[in-house]
Amino acid sequence: MNVVTPFEGIGASLRRKEDFRFLQGRGQYTDDINRPGQTHAVMLRSPHAHATIDRIDTAAARAMPGVKAIFTGPDMAAESIGGIPCGWQIHNKDGSPMAEPMHPALALGKVRHVGDPVAVVIAETRSQARDAAEAIVVDYTPLPAVSGTEAALAPGAPQLHEGAPGNLCYDWHIGDKAAQEAAFARAARVVKFETTNNRLVPNAMEPRVAIGDFDSFSGDYTLYTTSQNPHVIRLLMGAFVLHIPESKLRVVAPDVGGGFGSKIYHYAEEAIVTWAAGKVKRPVKWTCERSESFVSDAHGRDHVSTAELALDEQGKILGLKVHTLANMGAYLSTFAPCVPTYLYATLLSGVYSTPVIYAEVKAVFTNTVPVDAYRGAGRPEATYLLERLMDVAAAEAGIDKVEFRRRNFIRPDQFPYQTPVALQYDSGNYHATLDACLETAGWAGFEARRAEAKARGKLRGIGISTYVEACGIAPSAVVGSLGARAGLYEVGVIRVHPTGSVTVLTGAHSHGQGHETTFAQLVAEKLGVPTANVDIVHGDTAKVPFGMGTYGSRSLAVGGSAMDKAMDKIIAKGKRIAAHLMEASVEDIEFERGTFRVAGTDKTKSLTDISLAAYVPHNYPIEEIEPGLEETAFYDPKNFTYPGGCHICEVEIDPDTGHVEVVNFTAVDDVGRVINPMIVEGQVQGGVAQGIGQALLEAAIYDPSGQLISGSFMDYTMPRAGDLPDVGVATHTTLCTHNPLGVKGCGEVGAIGSPPAVMNAVVDALRDYGVRHVEMPATPQKIWGIVNAHRLAAE
C-alpha cells in the first residue's frame, strides 16, 4: 500500500536521497568503472600555444613495455574520422555563416593551444602509457601566438585558422541600431563603461574520465564518460565524428562529480578512446589529471565590453548600446558560439524597461583553451556588465542607486514583457524581490556599520544587483531559428510497476543538483507514491529513450515538465482502468495523490490496485486498453523561464593588505515554484560561492605567448569555505506561466546575480577614494594598488 506523508511532496525540504551514497563514498563515478581487459590511454599534449608539427617519431615509444598502440592525427584522418563538431551556428551581420574551422580530435599538422592533444598512447598500465608518451619525439616549429581577446583582432596578429581571416569567428548583432542612435541623440546624459569579464577555469571536483569499450562480436560501442548529457554525446560523436549509428553506440554517464557546464561538451578524448577501443579490441580508459584539466576542459567567460547607457533628465533609461569581444579559444567548443550571443546579448535588458538596445558581438579565435558555457553562460556576463553600469550611471546622474533601479524596473503589471532583444519575460516581480532583499540585508542601517568598521580601520561597502536570467532552455523551433543544431525538449518516462513503485527515466542528468530527490518529490506530489518507492534513472542511453541533458537550469522546467506530462498520461490511463474496475464512467473518476475515486462516492481504488490490474489483466478492458502502466512524454518548452531577484553583498577591505572579505550576503530570488527549499538554498549558495570566486579570486591568466600561468591550484585561486560568508537565501515566488509546474530554475541564479553585487560593494567600500570601477577579480594586490595610489596622491 502506498501511504504518502504530505511532507514529501512539493515544498518539502526532503534530505537528498543520493547523499547517503555520496557521503559514504559509495558513489559510482566514471573512474570507479573498470572494464575487463582494460587498457590505459595517456594524451601527449602540446607544450606550445602555436606551432607546426613537422615530425612525430613514435618508434622508440612503440617499443616500450606494455604499449599496445600509439595514434596521431593522421592515423585518425586516414580512417575519415571527423572533426569535433560545433552544435550552434551563428550568422554574421551580413547573413553569412560564422567561420567554423576544423577541430581535429588529434592535431593535424598544427597545434593551436597549450594542451592541444597530439598523440594518444595506449598501454597495459597508465604508468607505461606515460613513460611511452615521454618517449615520443615531436618536432615543432613554434609560431607566434596570440592569447588576448583584443589582441587577436589587431592587424598583424598571428593567424590561427585559414578559414578565419583576422581570427574572426563571427561579427554578430542584435537590436535596432537606428532606434538606438535616435535615442542617444535625445539623451540628457550618456554614461560609458568598459570592462573585462575574467576568464575562469571551471574546476569541477571530479576531473573528466572517458572509457571506450568495443564488443567485437556485436559490433557495439560503449562510452562511459563524465557528461552532463550522454544522448547529446552519442548524437554528436556517433553521427559526426566516428560514424557509428546510435543503435550501435551506448553512452553512459554515471555519477558525475560536478560539471558547471564544462561537462556538456563533446570532447576529443571521448572520441579518441571510443575509436581506439575498436582499434585495439580492448577497453581503453583515460583519466584526466588536474593539471591536464586546466589545459583541456573548456574555460568560461572572457569578454571585453564597452557599454553606453542613455538617460533622460529624470534618470529614465532611453537606450543601451553594447560592444563585446568574446574569446572562443582555439577551436569552437560544442555550444561556444551561442554563449556570447543568444545567452548574453538577449539579456541586456535585464530587469529594466529599456526601450531600445543595440548590441554587437565579435567572437575571436586565440591560442587558448576553447571557451564555452560555464555556470550561467552568458547571463553572468550580461548581468555583470549591466549591473556595474547601473551603479556607475546612478553615481554620475546623482541618483540613489536603489532608486535608479526602481525607476527603471519593469513593473509587475507589464508582464508578459517583450524586451527589445527578442525575449518575452512571462512573469516576475522585481520590486518585491528588491524590497525583501533590502529589508533582510538591513540596507537602511548600512552607514552605521560602515562607520563602525572605519573605527576598526576597515573600509566597508555595500553592493546591490537586481537581475533576471533566461533558462529552462528552450523552445526547439526558436533555438533552431537562432542556429541551434538540436532541439531542446526533454524526455520523461514514468514506469509504474505492478505493485505500485515507480521508476522514472529522465533525459536530464544529475551531477550535484539532487534530481533523485526533487524528481521523486514530483511523483510523490502527483501520484502519491512515497519517494522511497520512486527511483530516478538517468545518464544511460541504453535505459533512457532520449534526452538533451542538464545545463541552463533546464532539468526541472523542461525535464520535470516532461515527467509531469507523462504522469498526466498515467492518470488518464489509470482513470480508464479504474472506471472499468469500479463500473463507473471515465468522466466520473477523480484522481488525487494516489487515489482514484468515483466522484461523490466512497468508491476508491489505489494506484497500486490499478497498476496491478494493468499488469495482471484478468479483469481488464483488454480490447480497449493495452496492459501495463508506463508512459513517455517529450516536452518542448513554450518559452525560456525567467528567474530573477536581488542580491546584496557587504564587504570589508583591509586597506593595509588590500584583502577583501565578504561579511554579508543576502539573496532573494524568484525561481518560480519551489519543490525542495533546502535544495534550492544549496543551489543558490553554491552559485554565490562561484560568483564570489569570480569577483574576488579566480582568473585564468595567459601570458602573451599563450602559456597558462595560473595552470594549477598553486596559482589559480579557488574559493574556499573560509572565503565565504553564511549566504542568506530566501525566495519570492511568481509562477512561470507556461510550464505545468510553474517552475523557473535555480541552478545558475547564484552565479549570475552575485558578481556585480560583490563588485558594487568593493567599489562602494572605496568610495572615498573616488574609484569608479575595479576589474574582477578584486585581488589583494589590485585593491592595495588602488589604496596605495590614493595615498601617494594624497601625500
Binding site: D131, E134, T657, M714, P780, Q781
Partner: protein, 265 residues
C-alpha cells in the same frame, strides 16, 4: 611516478648508510612536498628512504633553555605540543597555520627545513629564533643552513635529525597568504632572543628566507609596531609574481612586521 626502490630503515645510521651508497636516493618524511613532485614526474630518485620508522627522530623535549624538536615531528604535533605552547606559543600557533589538516598530519619540521621553500613558515621562524639545525654529522646555525631558495647547506645524503631552538623572551609571527596556494606571500617572524632582536622574512625574498637587519635595529631601540612601521624594505631584493609584485610584497613585509610585533606582545 617513475619506479624507485623503497627502503624503510629503523635507525638514522641505517638510513645514512643507504643514502651514502646511492647518491640518487632521497629521504622521505611526510612526503607532502616530495610525493607531489614524484607524481608530476619532476623528480626521478632511484630509491626513496622512508624515515617514518625511525623512532629517535620524533618528539619534542625541553633541554635547559632550549626546545629540541625531532626532525620527524609532524606539524600537528608541534601545533598541539604542551611544551611548545608553553615555551614558544607563537611557534605552535604558526605550525597550526601550515597547509591544511591533512598536510599538518603528515608534514614534518625536518622535511620543511630540508626543503627550504622560500614561502614555507619554519625557515623564517628558525632564522629569527636563532635555531640550530642538527644533522647526522654536525650542527649548523640557521643562517648557515638556509643558503637560498630551495637550497641548504646539507650535503647529499645528509639528514636533518633535530632542531634546537633557544627559548626567546618574546616572539611573534604574521603572514599574508598567497590567495591561491595559501603559502606565505610575505611573512615576518620577530623574536627577542638572548643574542638580541632578530627579524626574519619569508615568502618575499628573491633569494629565499632572509633577516631584515634594519627592522632588527629599529626594534632593538624601541620594541613597538611603530618602530618597524617606518622601515621600508627594498623592493629590489624581493621577488614578484601574478599574486604580488615586489613593491606590494615590500609593503606587506612592513605591515606583517607590525602585526608580528603586536602578536609578540
Amino acid at each position: 611516478m617513475y619506479d624507485f626502490a623503497y627502503h624503510k630503515p629503523a635507525s638514522v645510521a641505517d638510513a645514512v648508510k643507504i643514502l651514502a651508497a646511492d647518491p640518487d636516493a632521497r629521504p622521505i618524511s611526510g612526503g607532502m612536498t616530495l610525493l607531489p613532485a614524484l607524481k608530476l614526474r619532476l623528480n626521478k630518485p632511484t630509491a626513496v628512504v622512508d624515515l617514518s620508522g625511525i623512532a629517535e627522530l620524533r618528539g619534542v623535549k625541553r633541554d635547559g633553555d632550549s626546545l629540541v624538536i625531532g626532525a620527524l615531528t609532524r606539524h600537528y604535533e608541534v601545533a598541539t605540543s604542551a611544551e611548545v605552547k608553553a615555551s614558544i606559543p607563537t611557534l605552535a600557533a604558526m605550525a597550526a597555520t601550515i597547509g591544511d589538516t591533512q598536510v599538518r598530519n603528515r608534514g614534518t619540521i625536518g622535511g620543511s627545513v630540508a626543503n627550504n621553500d622560500p614561502s614555507a613558515d619554519y625557515p623564517a621562524a628558525l632564522l629569527a629564533l636563532g635555531a640550530t639545525i642538527q644533522t647526522d654529522k654536525r650542527k649548523l646555525a640557521a643562517e648557515d643552513f638556509f643558503t637560498g631558495m630551495f637550497t641548504t647547506a646539507l650535503d647529499v645524503g645528509e639528514l636533518v635529525t633535530a632542531i634546537h631552538i633557544p627559548i626567546p623572551k618574546k616572539a611573534g609571527y604574521a603572514k599574508m597568504r598567497n590567495p591561491a596556494s595559501r603559502y606565505s606571500m610575505a611573512g615576518v617572524f620577530v623574536a627577542q632572543t638572548a643574542s638580541g632582536v632578530r627579524v626574519a622574512v619569508n615568502g618575499a625574498g628573491a633569494n629565499g628566507v632572509f633577516r631584515e637587519k634594519a627592522m632588527e635595529a629599529a626594534l632593538a631601540a624601541n620594541w613597538s609596531a611603530d618602530a618597524v612601521a617606518g622601515v621600508k624594505v627594498d623592493a629590489g631584493l624581493l621577488n614578484g609574481d601574478i599574486h604580488g609584485s615586489a613593491e606590494y610584497r615590500a609593503h606587506l613585509v612592513t605591515v606583517m612586521a607590525k602585526r608580528a610585533v603586536v602578536d609578540a606582545g
